[in-house]
């Protein structure tokens, strides 16, 4: 197992290095560089001025050379300066990351805590009124435009019944736990309504599939109670596809939720990445995207390990992974 984990970590580092170059190159393809922005601010700059400035900023060098320069600096902990926020990238990102972690982490936990039992409940009562009601609610949650949902929640709970703040992370002069928690309620509810539907649907489908397996029938034939069969035999296996979905969601967990963040004026990673890309903030965009890549890689590794824990037939300790 340790060997497997080490192998995967090495693999992740290689992927990360390749991705850093790919992202660097793609960002380099985007129109405009810092000197173009200077020209936009001062269109009277002469070609000689522009050429000299490009040389000063090292933008006259080939892409590969610039990448190597960036990579060497990054290895020594210097990830560059954010053009938009005029601060070192690593000084800007933690605040946004923490906001996103609070928002998305809470959404994630609440969604899972609700979706798993609800999905199992719907699967065990397939075609019942309860199942239909859950399905309907799921489809409503998935299909409602998140922009509209956010706006409606603001209007209802901040305008008509003013019990919650409409936007922001904290009040001016506030910032305590309760204050921050109040500001999280509406964005978390928006995202939870949106994400809970798909998790519930996956859980339901997966449980239905598992409940048709021979070993479940055998468990029932042996006289095990329904609850025992579900909890001891079905649930662990039914969770496998959901774990995959969760692992894939981790990337987005740290790359934020652009629309929700924008609607609630909540400065998170989604807005940060979007604004960086749109605002020619290469360093910030690069580091933020790389971070999202790293989280996705680690989450997938965690998912693979979770498979082994959930399903004893899966082993990473050699033998080519053949089911036992």
């Amino acid at each position: 197992m340790t060997r497997y984990v080490m192998g995967r970590l090495v693999e992740s580092v290689i992927v990360l290095v390749i991705m850093s170059f790919v992202i660097y190159a793609l960002i380099g393809l985007m129109p405009g560089d810092p000197i173009d922005l200077m020209i936009k601010s001062d269109p009277r700059l002469t070609p000689a001025d522009a050429a000299r400035l490009r040389a000063v900023y090292g933008l006259d060098k080939p892409l590969a050379e610039r990448y190597l320069h960036w990579a060497m600096a990054a290895l020594s902990g210097d990830f560059g300066h954010s053009r938009l926020y005029v601060q070192p990238v690593l000084d800007v990102m933690p605040g946004f990351l923490l906001n996103t972690f609070n928002l998305m982490g809470l959404t994630f936990v609440i969604s899972i805590v609700i979706a798993v039992p609800v999905g199992v409940y719907a699967a065990l009562r397939q075609h019942s009124a309860g199942d239909y009601a859950i399905n309907l609610a799921c489809f409503a949650g998935i299909s409602v435009p998140i922009f509209w949902l956010a706006l409606m929640l603001i209007i209802v709970f901040a305008v008509l019944i003013p019990v919650l703040p409409a936007s922001g992370v904290s009040s001016v002069g506030g910032g305590g736990f309760l204050d921050r928690a109040r500001h999280l309620v509406l964005p978390v509810v928006t995202l939870t309504i949106f994400s809970i539907g798909s998790y519930t649907r996956f859980m339901r489908a997966s449980t239905i599939e598992v409940m048709r397996q021979d070993y479940i029938r055998t468990a029932f034939a042996k006289g095990a109670s329904r609850n025992r069969v579900v909890v001891r035999h079905a649930l662990r296996n039914a969770l496998l596809p959901v774990v995959t979905i969760i692992a894939l969601s981790f990337g987005t967990l740290f790359s934020g939720a652009l629309i929700t963040e924008t609607m609630f004026a909540y400065p998170g990673m989604g807005k940060l990445i979007y604004d960086s890309i749109m605002g020619n903030d290469f360093n910030m965009a690069l580091v933020a995207l790389l971070f999202a890549t790293l989280v996705t890689l680690l989450a997938n590794l965690a998912a693979d390990l979770a498979y082994a824990w959930l399903d004893p037939r899966i082993s990473y300790s050699g033998g080519g992974g053949t089911p036992r």
Binding site: I154, F157, M263
Partner: protein, 551 residues
Amino acid sequence: MIAAMAGGLGLAACGEQKQDRHTLVIGMTQYPATLNPNIESMLAKTYVLAMTRRPFTHHDTDWNLVCALCETLPTLENGLAVRETLANGKQGVAVTYTIKQGATWGDGTPVTTKDVLFTYEVGKHPASGVADGELYRRILRIGVKDARTFTLHLDRLTFDYNAINSFQVLPAHIDRANFKDPKEYRKRTAYDSDSTNPGLYFGPYRITEKKIGSRIVLERNPTWWGKKPYFKKIVVRIIEKTAALEANLLSGSINYIAGELGLLLDQGIAFEKRHGKDFDIQFKPSLVYEHIDLNLENPFLKDRRVRTALILALDREELSSRLFDRRQPVADSFVHPLDWIHSKATPRYRYDPARAGRLLDAAGWAKRDSKGFRVNAKGRRLTFELMTTAGSRTRELVQQILQSQWRKAGIDIRIRNEPARVYFGETVTKRKFKAMAMFAWLSAPESVPRLTLHSSQITTAANNWSGQNYTSYKNPEVDKLLDAIEIELDRPKRRVLWARLQKLYARDLPVLPLFFRADPFIIPKWLKGIRPTGHQDPTTLWVEHWRAERP
């Protein structure tokens, strides 16, 4: 779920915190990238900084140039500006300013000529990346008389010789250390690394808190020498989505939506219909000139008759009425009707489809194809690609109306929009649009359009895409007029030159003028003293006159 969460947090009854009556919360849609007043030109930054500092000169609400940080506006008449002959024989000018008595940085250090010299040093350095490099290039040297008086020696005598609006004085005692390596100054300036340092500001307010991307908090500056502001604290909150901005206003989370960076006009009109009785809503036409740049290298658009037909086939009054409740004045040229240089003799193109048709017939587009579009003798359809910024709802609506109006004249319009990033980063600035590019210019009163109309300013790869003449318009008479206007000091004579320029612009039509954008200011009835300017200087330059008159 919400009730549970709200209840769990013990919130049900408390709602949004009630604000102190001496605190004003302003909502706007953009966060200032940098707070350094000289680096990058950005309206959000100008808006916030106008509360914390004052330029030497700016335009007042009546569009006259006035002193803010100087005692007296220097003119040739009052002797504070003096003509001088330069070493190369050309005419220059020496302009003397005296820093306002009592001008003091927030840490108690007086604003002096040392700061002026430091600002000049930063501004003229090519690697520092200031927004208006041209001003610093024009300054040949600065002579210092004493701690408050200095003389700028300018390389030419232009009519706006005394306007140094973009010379934003920097605190030498704080930022000089950050300028040791000019290339790194953008990254090290205290305005971004130490934004709450009181020594960076000398206006009615100073910045006391900055939450990146979220809000900026300003509090009264004890060293401000002018009228004491009413509000103890001003919070500028950034809410990018205008729908959310509106909801925040209604919820009381913000008190006022900045007109300069707030709702779009159509949203303002809709808001007025729903909540007009609760707010004082002002619509101020601004110097934001919406227009369509034509690519004059397009073979069809080279023909002036076609360009004239294009504007005659448009019912811009109808468009303004349908979309903007007639609150956006139709433009005859780049000159705003409120600007003193506006000429009533400029040709006005009213909707005249019959004349448009005759012009197109004469230009060889008399035949129609099976779909009703005009074709030439070779059977080629009269087709143009109209581009603008994707996702800009108002512009996309305008585009659709233009398309339908031109269709009636037999002109086929293909719409192709791009994200602003690509559109302004490549397509417009590198003249990659095939026919028409719709966007806006923001200018100052009596702004000479040298960059957009002079033939030397046509953007090309050879000049590294500098300049802003994206239409590739060339008219020797216009070039001469632009040169002449800049150095004509006599207003009546200059007015004649301006009139001729507007006439040529309207005759040649390198650009199709659409309208001047109006900004809606959504002001609560209790908030008094806000006077929209209509030009590039924001209302916050008069923030000390804002007050609350609550019942």
